[in-house]
Symmetry: C2
DNA sequence: GCTTGACTTGGAGTGGCTCCAGACGGGTAG
DNA sequence: CTACCCGTCTGGAGCCACTCCAAGTCAAGC
């Protein structure tokens, strides 16, 4: 499939996909005789995973490392697991931040309720 | 208090505080006779709020708007409330994304458990 | 009086895209 | 056949929100 379809399915923009390919985070995609990229379902699966990792704050560097491990085959699975576990920890920390911020917002909003028309 | 203390208390770096002041998101801070910034507790409270809003993804533009409303005094409280409510919605959406990603990670990790030593 | 350290400014650099100009090639319309 | 539109290509500029740095000022301590 071509880039627009891969983009729709993965969630990444066509520009971002090209950018990822350039930076090696995505393997060089096969090209048709016309020179256009031809994405396989596996490519799209990979892009989709990247979409989620990136969206939830994994840095490029780490994604590059992860991609490299993937290229190196099965014997890197333990390390890949540890990358994902680390990210999972990050997600938890992030959720706590969001919760903390939600509390602060609630507090602020309640304060506004009380003030409404009073002093600042 | 000086910038280093304000930085510690708010969580923002000194550079970021100066940057925020330059961009108007923070009111011009009082200067002592030595030309150094002299932060009041209210300044720090404001910085702390900004820290949380920014950290949880509120764009600068919106924070600028919020700062402007704040400057305009109490009659803008309803609009300030709606800014915070909108952000609160954003937090919820963000939390769902994190959860979705956590699911995907769990799925991947489980797949790795099964593969461990088998085929890629 | 000299060093140390916190602060100042302006400006350059960074990460991760995002947008754009200009070129190409395939398909439909006139 | 020509005109035009689409989607794609590449390389490069632009953007956001910092972050870091150089060069300078000043105050306090030895």
């Amino acid at each position: 499939m071509r880039i627009s379809e891969a983009s729709m399915k993965s969630g990444l923009s066509a520009d971002t996909i090209r950018y990822y390919e350039k930076s090696g985070i995505v393997p060089a995609i096969d090209r048709g005789p016309d020179g256009l990229r031809n994405f396989s379902p596996e490519n799209v699966e990979w892009l989709t995973l990247l979409y989620w990792l990136r969206k939830t704050g994994m840095p490029m560097k780490e994604m590059c490392r992860f991609a490299e491990l993937y290229r190196l085959g099965n014997r890197t699975i333990p390390e890949r697991k540890s990358v994902l576990l680390r990210h999972s920890e990050r997600l938890k920390a992030r959720q706590q931040e969001l919760e903390r911020c939600a509390e602060i917002l609630d507090y602020k909003l309640a304060a506004y309720e009380n003030i409404e028309g009073g002093k600042q």
